[in-house]
Assembly symmetry: C2
DNA sequence: CTGTTACGAATGAACGTTCATTCATTAGTA
DNA sequence: TACTAATGAATGAACGTTCATTCGTAACAG
């Protein structure tokens, strides 16, 4: 067993537990137990629980960005770009319910709020999935294809419903199949297009 | 000082503290302190913290339903009904940021999940704001005015964006004035209409 | 090859803190 | 006086974190 195995075990255990029960329902002792390690061992890899939580988030973010940027239809019409990003995002979250649940926990917590604040204030300058959507919106507005609304409002109109629907899917309240995803994508496009 | 005064004080204090800091950031001791009472006194009025939390939720729910049902344009066209409910809901949440924040905390917690599950499984039969929207959607679908999508999806399309935008407003990321609310309402209508 | 030493990852009992809840006591009222 | 409401110190469970110790392994010496 190499070093990174233990780290991976801890990440996996923490992700599952937190996604399932939230930050406060996932004590370090239980994370350790699930990772078949000792409580203290976690602190060999992560300074404290906060660091672990943020590390987990970045783990997911990286994979999400990778998924979105692979095969991105650069230069194609705005509508096509939007459908592409929306679909990729949706399908990624549906096939990684653990990641989705974790992200939900994260964004509905002080961790996520400050992350969002930093992002909106431009405190980081990486090209990621979020940027992709923002660029689509800016381009769409200047081409008079999209409604002239604040970017943050367009973002809420475009992906707010998707997140709610995916949550309902993971909770078993609705079944999201391909045709339905398509219809929802179109509905969101209707919301933001002129 | 009458009985209900103390109860009101406790409710107010708990609401403020929980809305601001979440359930885990609002210890009973601090709620008591803020309500100018002793920790033990809370237990004269509420069996335990869970009961207090659910009581708080129903407190808000009642006022919200009251606000929506007052002046409801019964019998008017679907679109008008939708604009009415949407506007009322939006304005209520904007003028009661404490209630909004509390509801957010509630719905993004196990309390809210089970509440939602009960509702969707029809475990309660009251006529409230939620029902109002559902009735609008059912009527709109049968009149071929709205897209033929599952009710739960229509609900996400209609109010998902609003909740996100209101959150961004309370966090100071965007300013929601009347014209902008109007535009967002129309965008959400575009999303659900055929 | 064998025996010894050094290293550091892993351990888990223990610590200090925080919290919800209890209950013996007190204050207030009729 | 008799009864209820209010109190807040006390309780014990749960948690994140620490640290003295263990133990497998790698490096080295003979």
């Amino acid at each position: 067993m190499t070093n990174s195995d233990k780290r991976t075990d801890i990440i996996q255990a923490a992700m599952e537990l937190i996604a399932e029960r939230g930050f406060h329902g996932a004590p370090m002792s239980e994370i350790a137990q699930k990772a078949r390690t000792a409580a203290g061992t976690i602190y060999c890899y992560f300074e404290n629980k906060d660091v672990l939580i943020n590390e987990l988030f970045h783990e997911i973010e990286d994979k999400l960005i990778e998924a979105i940027l692979a095969g991105y239809p650069e230069g194609k019409p705005i509508k096509e770009q939007f459908f592409y990003v929306f679909g990729k995002l949706c399908r990624y979250l549906l096939t990684h319910p653990l990641h989705f649940r974790y992200m939900e926990q994260y964004f509905n917590s002080p961790y996520g709020i400050s992350h969002r604040r930093d992002k909106l204030l431009g405190k980081n300058v990486n090209h990621d999935g979020h940027d992709a959507l923002i660029r689509i919106f800016e381009e769409g507005i200047s081409q008079k294809i999209l409604k002239d609304l604040p970017l943050i409002v367009l973002a809420s109109l475009a992906i707010g419903p998707m997140l709610y629907v995916i949550r309902d899917h993971t909770l078993g309240f609705v079944v999201l199949d391909e045709p339905l995803i398509r219809q929802i994508t179109e509905a969101c496009w209707d919301a933001i297009k002129r």
